[in-house]
Amino acid sequence: MTTTGTPALAFNDVTCRFAARDGGEAYTAVANATLMVQAGEFVSVVGPTGCGKSTLLNVAAGLLAPSSGTVEVFGERLVAERGVNRRAGYMFQADALMPWRRGIDNVVAGLEFRGVPREAARRQGEDWLRRVGLAGFGDRYPHQMSGGMRKRLALAQTLILSPDILLMDEPFSALDVQTRQLMENELLALWAESRKSVLFITHDLEEAIALSDRVVVLSAGPATRPIGDFKVELPRPRDVSEIRMTPGFNELHREIWNAMKEEVLKAYARQKAA
């Protein structure tokens, strides 16, 4: 691993246990996970379904305190009890927009919470609506938008605060393939402008390779931890649909899939047994 200064995000030996609902044995979602994201780096985390990927993100966001281990944000220790990670933006898998706010009011919510004057916030909001391709749709309520438009809105809502770290939890998994590739390309373009650190969680290996500088493979749950770390040295700027055709992509895909396959089968067997 190349260490260029303090990492933007560092998990040190993080373990997360959850009390079982029926009072039985505690469930260990994540065990002894150590993972770094450098400043400006795009890291994807892939793993079989139900392996605790979201838990890892919630810990990084400061929404969840780990049972043991620490998280450092630009060298500073994150303590969930003292509040969320103020340097991170989080894009959730599920719809997280406020349904009672119009598009523009959703985009500027973060600025409003930070006390930015209404006029200035609105100007920035309109600008971001335009940048995510929603110019003229600011008056619509979330329920009047398609799934893809809602994701764009969520992206604008997160990026308007210009967070140093972007946490993304399978943000595009609910979209159809075409919309999804469009969104992936737009995300890459926006990322190229500002080079945030990104921790991107997905179960889709192709998406992970096409977007990232590095792909981290997680083991099957419970007690998930990183078991593989692959550098993606494909040229940028990339087009996610074209890069899938290149030989370098296929080779990486084979290599990472070999590491993942066993874990996916394990997870599948466990689900079937349950």
Binding site: A88, F92, A94, A96, L97, G110, F113, T158
Partner: protein, 270 residues
Amino acid sequence: MKIGKFKLTVLRLLVLGLAIGVWWALTDPGFLPPIYFDDPGRAAFFFGKPFRVFEIIINWFVSGEIFSHLGITLLETALGFIVGSVLGLGIGLWLALAPTASAIFDPYIKGFNSMPRVVLAPIFAVWFGLGVWSKVALGVTLVFFVVFFNVYQGVREVSPTVIANARMLGASKRHLLRHIYLPSAMSWVFASLHNAVGLAFVGAVVGEYLGSAHGVGYLILQAEGTFDINTVFAGILVLTAFALLLDMAVGLVEQRLLLWQPKTSETEPV
């Protein structure tokens, strides 16, 4: 199959006409040979005469006598609704966000809610007199629980993702209350608006009926005391029409306030 608007209105009026026709035919002395009552005037004594009832209603409106009574009933309804809603909203928000307090008060709230509130009317009459406030109090006890349970539910059902997202966007506890919990709870309150206004109306009328000097409920009570069944029916009809109007007004308010909620008509095929 969809029916045209005009046709629908005609059919609805036809049902009304038919009902009044049957009412008239069964109560008009001598129109039908006696079926059940020996005395031809007996049916009218028990069920009133439709045209006499309409005459009374028209007289009420022409002389203007009804307006002060309607005004009082409306005032009691409005006050009961407003006070009950504000209390329900405040206490609902508080208990939904304070689990310990909620656990302590839970059995008492359930107890009060399962108590038939109408039995409180005599007590309220003693406490607040026979004027407007005893009716308001009865309305409040009815409205409060509807609003309270809806707010409680509304706060509990806010999507955890929406809360987490707001926190990540920098929302403080106060921001969460103002921008997440309150709007979410309000949507549930509006969903129960028809119910709440209806109950405030019930509280007002039942209160008047049990003891008062004004209001439409009082008119009915008076008429009943003299076996004036036609006036009783007239009062009931006025109350019904009034309740319908109130419900329509609530529908209009609702439409304006719940703009952000998906309507089924938006996805209906043309």
